[in-house]
Symmetry: C2
Subunit: 304 residues, 2 copies
């Protein structure tokens, strides 16, 4: 039987995963704002490495009340839009609804816990390279995978059910024992590369890696993130950080999502990627001076 799914947030990630789930038989409802008419008229088009698929018709709505309670909500809003959850989320919730945040950084599960029982909150880290090229149209360069976990507990049948839906939709999934550890691991890359790409004046990752001073700062920031994670009880080996560095130069002139946001004049996810990790490091008594400086600069540089 098809799962009733709501997609909250219509950026590249929400459109891509939502459409793939719908194309493989799930009952997917998109909560959109400005793009409702376009998507209703033309559907959602995905370009994946030269292959084009169109989902039509699409169930789209401007109002969460119109959609009503679902089995599963994917939250794909920018973390900077979390203030809207108070209005958008509650109408989608039934007593068994699972909510999966696919957002960046730390603190998003905690925000969801204001409305959802902790046992029904999941989180996913998306390793995907895609961009929204027009309303309802996404270009996916690299499908990658999703790392899934539960909020503050190991994976259960629920996690595996969500993973199964995504796998069936062509998205490889990996369930992890500790979502929090997975999030800290992702920060090992995001804190330095997303941050320096903006703070150093709008440069791509290849430029960062080729600059001996900035490359040194990447490594030092990675060490600060590792130290904070370690103090909080998470295992992020030095070899993992080394690998995160090593995979970057081959990516070429890659624009981290924060740089894409910055260039488009959109607010950066400053709190999720730098602010909350900094507060947790401080609470754990770990000194992270570079993270503190980078956070202070980015909260000033972010478009309002």
């Amino acid at each position: 039987m098809a799962e009733r799914i709501a997609i909250l947030g219509a950026g590249a990630i929400g459109l891509y995963y939502g459409a793939r789930l719908a194309l493989t038989g799930q009952d997917v409802h998109f909560l959109l704002r400005s793009e409702v008419d376009t998507v209703r008229a033309r559907g959602i088009t995905l370009h994946t490495k030269g292959r084009t698929e169109t989902l039509f018709p699409v169930s789209v709505s401007r109002s969460a009340r119109e959609i009503g309670p679902v089995d599963l909500v994917f939250v794909t809003l920018k973390a900077t839009a979390n203030d809207h959850l108070a209005e958008l989320l509650p109408p989608l919730l039934g007593p068994q609804t699972l909510v999966v945040t696919l957002q960046n950084g730390l603190g998003n599960e905690e925000v969801l816990a204001r409305w959802v029982d902790r046992g029904r909150i999941l989180g996913g880290l998306c390793f995907i390279a895609c961009m929204r090229v027009a309303p309802g149209e996404v270009n996916c360069l690299h499908v990658g995978s999703i790392t899934l976990g539960e909020y503050d507990r190991p994976p259960s049948d629920r996690t595996r059910r969500v993973a199964g839906l995504l796998e069936n939709a062509g998205v490889p999934c990996r369930c992890v024992d500790s979502l929090a550890e997975a999030r800290w691991r992702k920060l090992v890359w995001n804190v330095p590369f997303n941050g320096l790409s903006v703070a150093a004046g709008g440069i791509t990752t290849d430029v960062i890696c080729a600059d001996p001073y900035l490359a040194g700062e990447v490594r030092a920031l990675m060490e600060e993130v590792r130290a904070a994670a370690h103090a909080l009880g998470f295992d992020v080996p030095a070899a993992f950080a080394q690998k995160q560095f090593d995979v970057t130069p081959p990516m070429g002139a890659y624009q981290p999502s924060s740089l894409v946001d910055f260039k488009a004049g959109r607010p950066l996810e400053v709190d999720a990627i730098w602010g909350e990790p900094l507060r947790r490091a401080q609470a754990a008594g770990v000194s992270t001076p570079r993270l503190a400086l980078l956070h202070a600069l980015l909260q000033r540089l972010t478009p309002a």
Copy 2:
């Protein structure tokens, strides 16, 4: 008897001090480039708090050989132009010539020592608020003072002779036992405020002080500079840093010189203000992570 003086560098500082020395009877020669014709035709005009003085005629030259050996050279080039010293300085040197660098940051005396005997090198820190408003025209908002010292030795009669010339020209002078310590003290302000004003997107000092995160970073950077200075044997008390912070908010929307340079598309004095202090801190085994990150960002942000 008038001293024969050469002014090397025709920014606001060189024009201001040079013209004041000439107006009080010294034999001053300006080494200029693009502005030679204008200054020769119109002289140098100083606006000092509502009072206007004009020096005319002015001895200006494009070539150091035309000027020849002098008693005293004031180096007021940007530290970023030090490469030109190899051509500009030697023709001005006689066996007794004193050379006073009024440049920012660390490392300028060492550059001069390539051509000048260490015992004839002096340095000065200019506490002045002035700007060049047109070729040969300077607006001085605050005359302030100069702190003078000798390179690697206490002040001598030479220092007092130079101080006397400046005092006589209306510029209060203070001779200090340790020029190096005075330079580290000035860095307590310059490292954070010049750096953050640029790295945080082009903001004035009042905005920095009013931002709780950036104000915290100012204090932390001041502590790093103090720690480095201390390890190198210089005394920079905590109360001194506190005072450097406290005097800043009353300055209002002040643009540090690096911000002025940045907005004008001129190279920043990255090496003198951040690079050389960082190297000396590292050589002394002092950890200055914020200085390292700020330096890495600024060397990327500086106009080429």
